[in-house]
Amino acid sequence: MTDDTALQRVKFYQTGTRTVGNRLLTEDDRTVQASMGRSNAITSGHRACQGCGEALGARYALDAAMRAADGRLVAVNATGCLEVFTTPFPETSWQIPWLHSVFGNAPAVATGVAAGLRMRGKTDVRVVAQGGDGGTTDIGFGCLSGMFERNDDVLYICYDNEAYMNTGVQRSSATPPTARTATTPALGDAPGNVFGTGKNMPRIAMAHNIPYVATASVSDLHDLEAKVTRAMGICGARYIHVFVPCPLGWGSASENTVLIARLAVECGLFPLFEAEHGDVVSVGKIRRRVPVDDYLRLQRRFAHLFRKGAEDRQRIEAIQRMADANITRYGLVDAEDDQ
């Protein structure tokens, strides 16, 4: 770490919501990000859009991983927004050793990094691999499954913004039903993405029986840091799937990134949980349940569901049923709290 980054002034990220602010917590309980000792793994000056959830998530995740690894961390990156907005040469936001190879091979490259480090006796250095939803659930899926299956000592973090953002917002297998993307336009009888498709990567990761799988959201950065920290305390293949709104791709206001992420959790569409060796071991309870409408309305990618005088209640209800199913499946709402 260079001197100027160590001296960089601590900024507090304003959450503007019902979360407990860092300042009310004891030093030890504050976020890694709130500490003077944070590593600035991705330092300021990068080119992400204003309000980019991926930039926020990656920054918190990597600084937490850096603290857990005592600063001995190597990061591998798939092609995608994170890779592009943190570079190009000669500029780089990465304060840690960082490698980008191609789009679909980050998990395999990370396997190689981990093996190479072991063979060179650098057993204290840890490895994080990261990619967007497209790089993870589609093109890198084979390599990721291989890395999981071999239980390689890699923490893989997926930043899920539910589409191929870097190439201009195309559908991926993480794009939700009805969402408008450049390849699922809001046209025709059933505008946007169709129902009944897509894959649930955290559950697929769990099916590999790897030691640790978690979902996290930039709406709860404390929780994200805690999960990264837990993951870093474990050896073997670990997977964290982080929900990261993309103002550009979702057609949302940049100041709403954290709010939208919170609404996704509170409506049940994005369940927060942890799993060990294939079994769910903890869930993030919903404190204040909201209808999916609240979440959907803030995003232009769902605007066709809310046309004036022609609200598409049928499809909104179908999305509500998906949220309800998650709430039931993971027990996200305690019976007495259910409103």
């Binding site: 600063g71 040469f89 780089t92 190879s101 191609v102 091979n105 395999a108 396997t111 093996a115 390599c143």
Partner: protein
């Protein structure tokens, strides 16, 4: 120690002597025995400080090697055919990043039609990916080239592909001299990377480069190959001094003095070519040959010098550039700039078709009289082709070509469907 072993085992033992630290394996014939051999040595403890990783695809195999190499570990993998194409994106990437990975290609045809036998379509498809490409002529050379390849790769920070004819070399049992560990250790110093992911000196590798420097990056990749034209003969000479036998280098001429016809080829077919040359030389023909050991970098100057007195060149090549002819011939023509020397292409051995001495003698004879076509397909079955063309003319729905050809070759093996049973188009 002299051993009577399979070519693949010889390669595996040579690779192990190079002390690789990460070896990735994915099965594909005819390369599989090589990684199996290395894997067995790791498992038995004969090869220590090496991680042998069974991956889920060739794309992963080379990607794992990329990651390992980027932290300064010596990395090796092997593949062939469909596997090489499956990892193509990573092949370019490894070269672009300047990672000195060594990879064996057990040369095999590419489908469709799927075919497991030898030709050079696979490595030729990736000849311009930025890797150094060496072609082995014998099993001894196949083993030796791997030891040289690690030296070369690490000295230049450039990946090296060692191309070994599938089955013909990989599966043949021959006498191979396997050097001792101290010998190899003395020849191949530990890997000292020029770049590595290091927590004590962090930097980014593989970030985007725009038009302002991309050409320069590529130029330096080209320069590295040009530099290899000096390094390859040097390390081959050092190899000869250390191990007592000649292997590798850029080119190997055979009886080219006074030769009017010079045959040029890559790989194991040179053995057959030399036999034919011996026979027809004795009968009075002025013919010689050149084995190209390094196809990338391409030894333009050496060929230019060796072919200066030739009246014609015949390239015997195991790959086809459809719509053009021969890849090797096009490259050889570059070496003949300013010389009015015809270069004939003989496409031979595709999909494992045997290249016989008799057939080679025939084309060399035609060449000597300048009666050879520009592009000749050795032992092409004209009758079967005529049959297929006639069928296609008669019937719009003539069906899969490959099946038709095999039916024509095996009349009576498959009962022909009566006309009215055929599905209507």
């Amino acid at each position: 120690m002299m051993k009577q072993i399979e070519g693949s085992q010889g390669i595996a033992e040579a690779v192990a002597l190079c002390r690789p630290q990460v070896v990735c394996a994915y099965p594909i014939t005819p390369q599989t025995h090589i990684v199996e051999g290395v894997g067995a040595m790791v498992k038995a403890g004969a090869l220590q400080h090496c991680e042998f990783i069974n991956v889920e695809s060739e794309f992963a195999a080379l990607s794992v090697a990329i990651g390992a190499s980027a932290v300064g570990a010596r990395a090796y993998t092997a593949t062939a055919s469909q596997g090489l194409l499956f990892m193509a994106e990573a092949v370019y990437n490894a070269a672009g990043l300047g990672l000195p990975i060594v990879m064996t290609v057990g040369n095999r045809a590419i489908g469709a039609p799927i075919n497991i036998w030898n030709d050079h379509s696979d490595s030729m498809a990736l000849k311009d990916a930025g890797w150094i490409q060496l072609y082995a002529e014998t099993n001894q050379e196949a083993a030796d080239l791997h030891i040289q390849a690690f030296r070369l790769a690490e000295e230049l920070s450039c990946p090296v592909m060692v191309c070994v004819d599938g089955f013909i070399l990989t599966h043949a049992f021959e006498r191979i001299e396997i050097p001792t560990q101290p010998q190899v250790d003395a020849y191949l110093p530990p890997f000292a990377p020029v770049q590595q992911l290091d927590v004590d000196n962090p930097y980014s590798i593989g970030a985007m480069v725009g038009p302002e420097a991309f050409t320069e990056v590529r130029y330096l990749g080209h320069q590295k190959q040009i530099e290899a034209l000096d390094v390859i003969p040097r390390i081959a000479a050092e190899f000869e001094a250390a191990f007592g036998r000649a292997s590798g280098g850029l080119v190997r001429p055979y009886r080219v003095e006074g030769a009017e016809t010079v045959v040029v080829a890559l790989g194991s077919v040179n053995g057959t070519i030399k036999d034919v040359i011996d026979a027809v030389r004795d009968a009075g023909a002025a013919i010689g040959s050149i084995t190209i050991s390094s196809f990338r970098p391409f030894p333009l100057a050496e060929l230019h010098g060796l072919l200066a007195g030739a009246a014609r060149v015949v390239c015997v090549e195991k790959s086809l550039a459809p719509g053009l002819g021969g890849v090797l011939a096009s490259n050889v023509r570059m070496a003949l700039r300013g010389m009015a020397v015809p270069v004939y292409t003989v496409i031979a051995g595709l999909g494992g078709r045997p290249i016989t001495r008799a057939s080679l003698a025939d084309v060399f004879h035609l060449a000597a009289d300048d009666k050879l076509d520009d592009v000749t397909f050795l032992d092409l079955n004209h009758a079967v082709i005529a049959q297929q063309l006639a069928l296609a003319d008669r019937d719009r729905h003539s069906g899969p070509i490959a099946e038709n050809l095999l039916k024509a070759l095996n009349p009576g093996l498959v009962r022909a469907k009566p006309q009215d049973e055929r599905p209507k188009p």
